[in-house]
Amino acid sequence: MKRKDFDVIIVGAGPSGLAAGFVLAKAGVNTIIIERGKFPGSKNVMGGIFYTKAMDDLIPEFYKEAPVERHIIEQNLWFMDDVSHLGVSFKSQKYNSEPFNSFSVFRAKFDRWFAKKVEQMGALIINETVVTQPIVEGGKVVGVKTDRPDGDLYADVVIGADGVNSFLAKQLGLRNKIKPNIVALAVKEVIGLDKEKINDRFQLRSDKEGAAYEMTGPFLDGMEGMAWLYTNSSSISIGVGVVIQDLIEHKTNPNDLLEKIKAHPSVAPLIEGGQTKEYLAHMIPEGGYYATPKLFTDGFLTTGDAIMFVNNVNREGSNLAIESGKLAAKTYLEAKQTGDFSSKSLSRYQDKIRKSFACKDLSMYKNMPKLLEEKRYFLTKYPQFFIDFVYDWFSVDGVSKPDKIKKAKKEFGDKFGYVNFAKDLYAIWRYMIR
């Protein structure tokens, strides 16, 4: 008889692996999750915002029990040059009611809690073990090899939830080598600051309310990327992510870039007096829709960052990971009824992913990476022009407002050309809004 240790082996105890494990264990499936870190979450990093919906569907009102920091009631988008910022801000008391739209969260704490829940459902979680490769027999994935002695494990299906560096999908030929233009490197610092100071500085009325800032523009020296700042309970997460190709071309060290942002005159006062508690780095899939690899093969499904399931425009990742994990689990449950774990049977996963909100979002932004690669000045020259214009507009310097508008119109024409501008607007419309 063929060896079988578990029904399903999940590789990686991140949000997608844990979500898959939760659904499977809840349905009574004999499930093992293998995690390479000391505990689930110990190797995981994210910018810091976690959208509630996908998790709340899984564990209703999870936020009452889970280690969440603050729920976000204010979102800001800043265009920055080296000395200014021009921002769009949205704050609403509507975000102040349950189930809350999003939270600031620490992965190391949250995932550990989530893992406990998954264990309570009956899944087995094994830490400190690296899955080195899939075991393939007769063209089918039948298990995994780990770096432990006696470390082979066999199962009906393996779910590769092994993150952005996913070696499993690569080894199985589901995807190509990752190119430096479709992944970003994000570095982040957690800076400790008193609750009261955070409340004052960000105009929050309690320790539970939070604010989020996202920043892009010419201060990144023409690199494609985004910086962010999120409030946690008694700390601030500040970070920056830049496409690796750009780091290479601009000969930029990510830590130096982060230091530059921390010193920015609009940012520095927000973090002043804080003490750095942690420095982190992680890759973020930036390729979007087109970078998604093949999602399945015989006896194998893959989820989360490993399928580049990240919405960079709206900064969503963990919730999409959870969504994909759930869908993978559901696919297994359906396949189990017929006992058919072939590629054909598991292809339902692809349909499910396509129909999900997440995929629709990704599809909407599918040309964004290309657009930004081609028209880098969207992030540099345009914002710079508007920053300069606003500066001019608010400056009382003897020049009349109509003259200022006239001057700006002329400069805009000289710099960009109105025909080009119309083309760019069309491109945005075509690529994003459709």
Binding site: I32, K38, F39, L124, R148, D150, G151, D152, K277
Partner: protein, 272 residues
């Protein structure tokens, strides 16, 4: 052969940082680990078991979260794990701790039979006291061998064991009889990478809880109230200041100056 290992769950002291501004330790998020010296005691017990056959039990005193350390011990090849956990133990000093662990160990002996070798690490990295092991050995009134760096030989018939231990001038080999208590240095062994089946077994295992209800532990000998030593205050040491750069022109003059500065210290130390 029955081996019993005493372990302690400690905050990973290598990750604890000092906040010199507030004079406190930064402990947030610092993971709890098995005291590294105790981990070597577990490894040694398992190695002895593998060579001579028998069982290894492990006990720790601590809050319910200490269970994770016991599971880790099980994944290293330990057979039975006990958690000594009761509110009355909170705040125990070394005397009270050695009492509770001794009493807990007696319960394990009742359940699993006489113990031939007791082991623990030479000290815990949070308290650095090195007193709990000697305390337990004294309560059992059995030979104590501290700072062990090797188990040389075990004679099961004669029930004797040869142990190499560190002393100031080097090492000495000691022969003693079962039952005995050994505290170990990190050098005693290399911790092996446990096989996957051990990890799976450990993840599935249940930990037995010992408390004042299911043992004969006298709660009037435990906890903060019944500990002879109390903490008056805790504070962080002063940050070290930058000293003096010596440059007296020539290397000879520089070195002479250095010597003159440390001469009195060398004298006090009896070096000159």
């Amino acid at each position: 052969m029955h081996l019993l290992v005493f372990i302690k769950q400690v905050p990973d002291a290598s990750q604890v940082r000092v906040n010199y501004n507030t004079g406190t330790l930064i402990r947030e998020g610092v993971p709890a680990i098995i005291n590294p010296f105790d981990k070597h005691a577990i490894e040694e017990a398992v190695r002895i078991k593998e060579k001579f056959s028998g069982t290894v039990s492990v006990i720790t005193m601590g809050p319910p979260m200490a269970e994770s350390s016991l599971k880790e011990a099980l994944s290293m090849g330990v057979d039975n794990a006990y958690l000594l956990s009761d509110r009355v133990f909170a705040g125990s000093d070394t005397l009270a701790t050695s009492y509770a662990l001794w009493a807990g160990a007696k319960k394990i002996i009742e359940e699993k039979g006489d113990v031939d070798i007791f082991l623990s690490g030479k000290q815990a990295i949070d308290g650095d006291t090195a007193q709990t092991g000697p305390g337990i050995a004294t309560r059992f009134d059995i030979p104590l061998v501290t700072y062990a760096i090797a188990i040389k030989d075990i004679d099961l018939k004669k029930r004797t064991i040869e142990i190499v231990r560190l002393i100031e001038s080097g090492a000495e080999t000691i022969e003693t009889t079962f039952p005995c208590f050994i505290t170990v240095e990190e050098e005693i062994n290399k911790i092996r990478y446990a096989p996957l089946p051990y990890l799976i077994r450990a993840a599935r295992a249940t930990i037995k809880i010992l408390n004042t209800k299911n043992t004969k532990i006298d709660s009037s000998k435990c906890g903060l109230k019944n500990s002879p030593t109390k903490v008056k205050k805790a504070f962080t040491p002063q940050k070290r200041e930058r000293g003096e750069m010596i440059n007296k022109g020539s290397m000879q003059d520089t070195l002479n100056f250095l010597y003159e500065n440390i001469e009195s210290t060398l004298k006090d130390m009896g070096k000159i």
